[in-house]
């Protein structure tokens, strides 16, 4: 049992962060705090992806050597070949060149870079909305907002 947990220790902080974030989103009535929870929730997913890309004993996925070396031959010089081949758009073909050295997987990092941008955009739009809500209602507490809207609805309904 303990072994199973220890083998997967990297998931523990992720799950804790995820649940904290989700709990904050649900439990708080303050719009800004809710966005904080949302960001926490998203961040936990970034971590999930990053840990996924780690290979034990893996090298950083950067090819040392001359990346400008042109078409350095197919497999004769795997390291130099990688840069040229990748540039040629045959990434699938290079898979067997690089198989000899264990590299960490760079793809999750790239994905998460995109996801971080998405997260930043969401947060910016969310905060902008909170600013506008505060200007329109004078509060950013959920209860007060509901009360204000409720009185608006009953007030205008003759």
């Amino acid at each position: 049992m303990l072994e199973i947990i220890l083998e997967r220790f990297s998931y523990i902080p992720i799950i804790i962060l995820m649940m904290t974030g989700l709990y904050v989103v649900i439990a708080t009535g303050n719009l800004v705090k809710r966005l904080v929870g949302l960001s926490l929730f998203q961040t936990s997913v970034f971590l999930l992806y990053i840990t996924m890309g780690k290979v034990f004993g893996g090298q950083p996925p950067i090819i040392a050597g001359d990346a400008h070396g042109g078409d350095a031959g197919h497999g004769a010089d795997a390291a130099a070949g990688y840069g040229a081949e990748a540039a040629a758009g045959h990434a699938a073909e290079t898979a067997h060149h690089v198989a000899e050295i264990a590299y960490s997987n760079p793809l999750p990092h790239v994905l998460i870079l995109t996801a971080i941008v998405v997260g930043v955009a969401t947060l910016a739009v969310g905060l902008a909305l909170v600013v506008r809500i505060r200007e329109a209602y004078g509060t950013i507490e959920d209860d007060a907002l509901n009360a204000a809207d409720y009185s608006l609805e009953t007030g205008s309904a003759e």
Partner: protein, 152 residues
């Protein structure tokens, strides 16, 4: 004498260096860690630092919000136009796909086109990211008045 003379002098020294470093990250991006995204944020940070030290008004004069708005759109246009250009340039004669940088330069063996493509696209990313970061900063910081000097 201004209450934060040291801050002002130091930041005047720092801001150009931040921008230069931003450009270093930018132009190093096609064959090393770096690229338009990071560079854009660094350059935006230079302007944000300027705004923090000298006030929003000064920053708005240096980089007007209109420039920021058009810059964001311009970056997207640069990026997309590289892609569209590759559709029509057809480097070695055969039809190439959207954003296939090889079309940008006839030298297929060295893949010089790939370098050009990455640099151009990253330039678009730089423009948009720097502008958007500033737009976000202006949108939020512009809503509260500056803290007057006496209250520092």
């Amino acid at each position: 004498m201004s209450p934060h003379l040291i801050l002002r002098v130091v930041s005047k020294l720092l801001i150009p260096m931040i921008v230069v470093f931003g450009f270093y990250v930018q132009f190093h991006g096609d064959f090393g860690p770096g690229g338009g995204f990071q560079a854009g944020v660094i350059i935006a940070v230079a302007v944000i630092l300027y705004a923090l030290i000298f006030g929003m008004e000064e920053a708005r004069r240096a980089v007007p919000p209109a420039v920021v708005r058009y810059g964001a759109a311009l970056g997207v246009l640069i990026y997309a136009s590289v892609g569209v250009a590759t559709l029509f340039m057809n480097g070695a004669g055969e039809p190439l796909n959207f954003l296939d940088y090889d079309a940008l330069h006839p030298d297929q063996g060295q893949h010089t086109g790939q370098h050009y493509g990455i640099l151009l696209v990253e330039l678009g990313v730089l423009t948009t990211v720097a502008s958007v970061m500033l737009a976000i900063f202006y949108a939020f910081a512009g809503r509260v008045p500056d803290i007057p000097d006496e209250e520092w």
